[in-house]
Amino acid sequence: AQSVSQHNHHVILSEAASLELGCNYSYGGTVNLFWYVQYPGQHLQLLLKYFSGDPLVKGIKGFEAEFIKSKFSFNLRKPSVQWSDTAEYFCAVNAYGNEKLTFGTGTRLTIIP
């Protein structure tokens, strides 16, 4: 069974700071990787995904993530955060051919104006 670790539980940054949220997964086979964002009181929205190909994927709102297979990592980055990025961020993985998503525990991001 796959598992996902997000080591940063709560991150506080000032506006315009750079962001990197860690995500590591545990699974021996081929995986699909996702980052979802959950704004306060709202549902999960897809930020970006990696299925195959270029390990550097770009998503919405200026986010990007890099898949490093040797490190089992899929870290989320944004060069300059905005106050509106305040939200909970979930890394998720599913195994190729097995659709159920396994989520990390989430990282709460707070941006200070």
Partner: protein, 115 residues
């Protein structure tokens, strides 16, 4: 673009009552997933359906059942409700193409409160 629709958005029940949550997937999506998110927790997979057949099962209590209908909407039936069932229940849908699943898109969730 059309999104996943869930109803009701909020539901308050007493212990030992039953509840039915509904999910309407994005048009042409054939796969539905149910997740449970407790307070301050990550979503946990409950069950999924593909073409009206159960395709996978997670940590779903025996008190819960679900099905997918001919129009692809799905219902999660919860009986003998317990306080611990209070959570946000998300439905997600995807289109399974060529045997591999596509991205799951989530609905707004149903917040169930059991008193």
């Amino acid at each position: 673009a059309a999104g996943v629709i869930q109803s009701p958005r909020h539901l308050i029940k007493e212990k030992r009552e039953t509840a039915t949550l509904k999910c309407y997937p994005i048009p042409r999506h054939d796969t539905v997933y149910w997740y449970q998110q407790g307070p301050g927790q990550d979503p946990q997979f409950l069950i999924s359906f593909y073409e009206k057949m159960q395709s996978d099962k997670g940590s779903i209590p025996d008190r819960f059942s679900a099905q997918q209908f001919s129009d692809y909407h799905s219902e999660l039936n919860m009986s003998s409700l317990e306080l611990g069932d209070s959570a946000l229940y998300f439905c997600a849908s995807s289109y399974r193409s060529q045997g591999a699943s596509d991205t799951q898109y989530f609905g707004p969730g149903t917040r169930l409160t059991v008193l």
